[in-house]
Symmetry: C2
Subunit: 135 residues, 2 copies
DNA sequence: CATTATTTAGGAATCATTATTATGGGAGAA
DNA sequence: TTCTCCCATAATAATGATTCCTAAATAATG
């Protein structure tokens, strides 16, 4: 019932959130752990995982279940789409208006109760296009 | 260069493809292994994984990198979208026309070279809606 | 058939993630 | 302040999906 029952703001939790919000990349738990360790050298990877989970559950950050094998995290909680570069593996934001009517459309066509959708693009980022080799 | 350089068709490979094409579900490697074992009881899970990879690379089946922790496979190689039921975890096909212009749209807006997109819906399937409890 | 390269079964290894457990620190009561 | 109590942490073990490894089996080819 209580939206934020007991969210003790520990140093670790604070720093994790700060570091995540600093960057526009969408780091994995491991990457973020490295970033946080510059300020808290003794932090455990398990602590990072647990706090990322808590923070995303409470709506303060976003957990991105993008394609690939590793979960990624986003300090920007606004709903938006992403683009993955196949070459460098990076994940960037896409400035595209949200598709608002397809959920309704699919719901009517399929008989499913559609709660949302996930759209992501794959391609090559500008940096990787620049140093294009013959491959 | 050669589109199908040397694709030896072994019994295992044949059966894996047949069993996958039989079903409309989108089984995981483990599930498919169980199915295949009804005909080839001694098949190894590693063999299933390797052949699913080979078959998808050669374009004979589709590897679905849908959200969640397990890879899923589709015998239908036509490009189409999917819907995941949050309750039972099943993955179904969605009968929705492909979004053809957004790739171009995103490419122009972002400067990325957009090669494609992945769209999937989340919701509750008809079966799970039927036995709706108060939860 | 005999040769040769590929494939298989089985198990070990890997990688991301989650669970476990003993320890430590903070908030509130006495 | 000092004592509890509870939650958080660090470190590590455990899990689960996937990949890798190796000797033995098997398909293609002549």
């Amino acid at each position: 019932m209580d939206p934020t029952p007991k969210l003790r703001m520990t140093t670790q939790r604070q720093v994790i959130m700060e570091e995540l919000r600093k960057v526009k990349s969408h780091p994995t738990a491991g990457e973020l752990c490295q970033m946080v360790r510059r300020r808290l050298p003794r932090i455990s990877l398990g602590t990072v995982y647990r706090n990322l989970d808590i923070l995303s559950r409470s709506g303060m950050i976003q957990k991105l279940d993008v394609a690939g094998q590793e979960m990624r995290f986003d300090g920007d909680i606004r709903d938006h789409y992403h683009l993955r570069c196949l070459e460098c593996g990076g994940v960037s934001d896409v400035d595209l208006a949200l598709l608002t009517d397809i959920d309704q459309q699919v719901e009517e066509a399929s008989g499913f109760e559609v709660l949302g959708h996930r759209l992501e693009f794959v391609g090559r980022c500008q940096a990787c296009r620049r140093d294009k080799k013959v491959n």
